[in-house]
């Protein structure tokens, strides 16, 4: 198998998916899940009492 052909295929497919997702999803502000309130980990897991 040719690595370069597979690489280009994945690259083009990924770019298309990124564009599709971006154009069909809202964008309010750039953020990380860990920046939300009551978050206890970078992935946004909430703090337990």
């Amino acid at each position: 198998m040719n690595t370069k052909v597979i690489y280009i295929f994945i690259l083009v497919l990924s770019f298309t998916l990124i564009m599709y997702d971006h154009l069909t999803s809202p964008v309010l502000a750039i953020a990380s899940p860990g920046q939300t309130e009551n978050s206890c980990a970078p992935c946004g897991a909430p703090c337990r009492d």
């Binding site: 690489y7 990124i18 999803s25 990380s32 899940p33 992935c43 909430p46």
Partner: protein, 366 residues
Amino acid sequence: MLRITNIGIFSFLSLAGLSIGLLTFFDSGFRGIILLILGIILGITFLFFQYGFASGWRNLIEKKNSSMISHHFLLAAICCVFFIPIIDLNTNIIGSYAPVNFSLVLGAFMFGFGMQLANGCGSGVLFTFGSGSGRMLVALPFFVIGSVLGTFVLPFVIDILSLGQIIIAKDNTLIMRTIINSLALFFVFLLFYFYARKNNFPINRKVTYGTFIIAVLCVLVLFFSGSPWGVTYGFTIWGAKISQSIGIPVETFTFWNWPGPKRSLQHSVLSDISSLMNIGMIIGAGFLASINGLFRSNNWPSSIELLSAAIGGILMGIGARLSFGCNIGAFLGGTASGSLHGWIWFVMAFIGTYFGIKYRKLVGFK
């Protein structure tokens, strides 16, 4: 003189980078475009300096060469000097803090093991994928799948044996906290540095320069993004969105109903910092690879390498979610923020690495 050896890939990446840059700029302004550019520069830097975690840790166990791992601690020590004051003095900037619990221990072990199977960590998978590595073309999709599986598991295990977040020297003054944490990291750097010298392994000057450049980039990421650089959450959000599109109801998972993940699932992949910077890193590595001719030397890996890359990818994906990140988000971000979970992550991932190397020998990896 620079010569573009893969004009097609270079042109496509330029077009993709420009399009994504423009969309990011229109939606997120300068902050978004700066983070994308930082991702691109990180991709170029990691590939140029071949800044690997997996091979560096393996070198210590297999060859008693601690040169590379000493640089990882130097990187964390430099970052720590800036991270703790920046986090403390800016209410809008948060550190990479996470609970010390069972899932951290288990996940970091899985990550370390998987890292040796796939031959790359979170950032390593990204920049070698960007440069067209056949093994990473397999490892990355499985990393993405694994991280979605991890989102299903995490809520069930996150409270097991949890001690909560533990911040080192929390009750000390800002200056003392910074000194204690950065000196601890610098001390480990020195241990590995002298161990490498004792075993006649010279310190690679080029990697040292790379360490300082990456440290500067990490501080810039912290400043502009509001939190330390993280890689694996970007994979998780990609996987969740793909899963949704093929009918898997990830939005019903507890994880995706937590406010932060819920927000990122509903919004564009370009509005999540980790996802945006990962895209930048792939573009950056691809740019450099298309200039220095790396693609020409890439051969398709053997079946056992591909199978191991797939298993390693899955383990790293699950492990990263359970342990709150990878070498970048958990180890570097955690230790540099003064969080104990970063140190525990390192110890467990290193133990996992040891067993991963045993596996490599078992299947005859070089």
